[in-house]
């Protein structure tokens, strides 16, 4: 569906993207995940045609679209703060992509109105067509923006931090709903996020980015279980850095167990309950220059919790070295 080859982009002296190569299959839901300044939004905007690369190519279905404008690419773009036209009603917003069509291509008025209403039903906002964006909640505005982008029947849907401006509860509901919609409509979608939970929960594949480069592309499972670099291990999910046998190891909190002997001594600082586990925070004692470093450990809540002040011996069940 989409192929990106050797993409480079600079903003003045700042290298925004460096040698990006990426394939996206039809029907996939892709997350571009990374901290701010990692180049994820720039990549999304280049795929859309809102920004242009310095070198490299973008292909849609085998066709080189590198020089084409956003309108010619026919993508649906949902902006971070929705960018709804505030002087237009919700229905007019949704219908905008149809009303600006020229000449023969523009459907008759009644057809446009019906289509807008149909799209509003699709995003579960039936009957709200006569309201103005200011009269809607954040989650509703988000769905109007989505309906507006879908009106031009795009093959590819691009979303820039789609849930960034929403509160936690609404965000959770919308995530599920958006994945369902994506599947139901047979879209190919790419969304940008800095929230690893969002990326892992929603995406078929996650593209982890840092400093303008792709660190890893993989399923949520792969990215979480087999991080390709220290950055990915650190950024996706929680991780402890332990030095053992002269090697730097990355260990997930739930991959640490308490052992009877032969482990690392850790002095327990705080213990609290987190879902079905005890979250233990402790400081490494003694050995190998790692002393004083904080470790986070998840222990099965069915066993008694260690008490603060106590020293426990820990060993990794599963660890990665880079």
């Amino acid at each position: 569906m989409i192929r990106i080859e050797n993409l480079q982009k600079r903003f003045g002296d700042f290298p925004a993207l460096h040698d990006i190569n990426l394939h996206i299959e039809p029907g996939e839901f892709i997350a571009l995940l990374g901290p701010s300044g990692s180049g994820k939004t720039t990549l999304l905007r280049i795929i859309a045609g809102l920004e242009f690369q310095d070198s490299g190519q973008v292909f849609f279905q085998g066709e080189d679209v590198s020089e084409r404008s956003v309108a010619e690419r026919g993508v649906g773009f949902v902006f971070q703060h929705y960018a709804l036209f505030k002087h237009m009603t919700v229905a007019q917003n949704v219908a905008f992509g149809l009303t600006v069509k020229r000449g023969r291509q523009r459907p008759p008025k009644a057809a446009i109105r019906d289509r807008a209403e149909e799209l509003l039903r699709l995003v579960q906002l039936p009957g709200l067509g006569d309201r103005y964006p200011a009269q809607l909640s954040g989650g509703q505005r988000q769905r109007v923006a989505l309906a507006r982008a879908l009106a031009i029947e795009p093959q590819l849907l691009l979303l820039d931090e789609p849930f960034g401006a929403l509160d936690a509860k609404v965000r959770k509901d919308l995530r599920r709903w958006l994945v369902d919609l994506h599947r139901k409509m047979g879209l190919t979608s790419v969304f940008v996020t800095h929230d690893q939970d969002e990326a892992l929960e929603m995406a078929d594949r996650v593209v982890v980015m840092d400093h303008g480069m792709i660190e890893q592309v993989g399923t949520p499972e792969q990215v979480y279980m087999n991080p390709a670099s220290p950055f990915v291990a650190d950024f996706v999910g929680e991780t402890n850095k332990l030095t053992m046998g002269g090697k730097q190891l990355h260990v997930r909190p739930h991959d640490i167990e308490i052992v009877a002997d032969g482990g690392h001594p850790v002095r327990v600082e705080t213990v609290f309950r987190r879902g079905g586990a005890w979250r233990v925070e402790g400081l490494i004692e003694g050995a190998e220059g790692a002393a004083g470093r904080l470790v986070e450990i998840d222990l099965d809540a069915s066993r008694p919790a260690p008490t603060p002040g106590e020293t426990i011996l820990i060993a990794p069940r599963h660890a990665r070295a880079f």
Binding site: V70, A71, F96, K101, I152
Partner: protein, 291 residues
């Protein structure tokens, strides 16, 4: 919601603090401001109208319908009718360029837009005399081709356009800066042409700011004295605008005539003020303003 509440709470707290200044201080401050305003603003305004109507309404009407006065009024309207639309287009274009693109020389353009405000109007007028006057840079060439700019209507239009250039752009730049590019990008991404995007997306977003800028631009275009005085040549019935006509009549001791024409200009100022207040109110209402 929370932000508004916080602002309101803070406002209440401040107002409590202000009242703690004590009633005497408050009365003195308000009274002082009122007396100052009355003396320097209200009194002259009242004087203009009372002088204009000193010999009754008929004398007033006669003064503003003399052929010279009438020609000055028509010329002023003509000048405004040409320079305001021009500067509306220039102002929108300049604001658009500055806020939606990044390019070399942007800050220079920003400074240039403010130039007419920082230069004395007399100097602005002189620039055009030096360029297009009989002894100016292009003067001989223009004369040879029978084109008259200085001491003629084209010169007055040039000077007025120069003087009133900043008003629309300066109103629009902060408004458009705040709005960013996302709305336009959304329009374009939905298949709208550049022109459709401007017409359906940008213009509605900036309409109140634009109207406000046009209003200020118009007030200045009709009221400009210095620059126009230098280039006009004060030919009665031909190159006299209303402000110039007021001066001429006053110098000839025709006080009723001078104040009658002046009262029309003052009336324009009052209408502008009312319209400005209404616009500011709408601005706030739509949250599009920065006031």
């Amino acid at each position: 919601m929370n932000a508004t509440l916080a602002v309101r709470l803070r406002a209440r707290r401040t107002s409590r603090r202000t009242t703690s200044e004590g009633p005497v201080a408050r009365a003195l401050l308000i009274g002082g401001a009122m007396i100052f305003l009355g003396f320097f603003l209200m009194l002259p305004l009242v004087a203009v109208f009372s002088e204009a109507l000193r010999h009754g309404f008929n004398a007033f009407a006669a003064a503003i319908t003399t052929p010279d006065a009438w020609s000055a009024i028509k010329l002023t309207l003509l000048i405004a009718a040409i320079s305001v639309p021009l500067n509306m287009v220039f102002g929108v274009a300049a604001a658009w360029a500055i806020t939606k693109f990044s390019f070399r020389g942007k800050s220079l353009l920003l400074t240039l837009i403010d130039l007419p405000l920082s230069v004395s109007p007399v100097v602005s007028g002189l620039i055009f005399v030096l360029l297009f006057g009989a002894n100016g840079m292009f003067g001989p060439w223009l004369m040879a081709h029978g084109v008259k700019i200085i001491f003629a209507v084209p010169g007055i239009i040039l000077a007025t356009v120069f003087i009133t250039f900043p008003f629309v752009a300066r109103e629009l730049i902060p408004v458009m800066m705040e709005q960013g590019r996302a709305d336009e990008e959304a329009g374009i991404s939905l298949g709208a042409s550049g022109w459709q995007t401007f017409w359906h997306v940008t213009l509605p977003n900036i309409r109140w700011g634009l109207l406000y800028g046009v209003l200020l631009c118009n007030a200045r275009a009709m009221g400009e004295f210095g620059a126009v005085s230098v280039v006009s040549g004060h030919i009665r019935g031909e190159t006299n605008t209303m402000p110039l006509h007021v001066e001429i009549l006053y110098n000839e001791y025709d006080f009723v005539g001078a104040f009658a024409v002046a009262s029309l200009l003052a009336g324009l100022a009052l209408v502008t003020l009312v319209a400005k207040t209404v616009l500011e109110w709408r601005f706030d209402l739509h949250g599009g303003g920065r006031h």
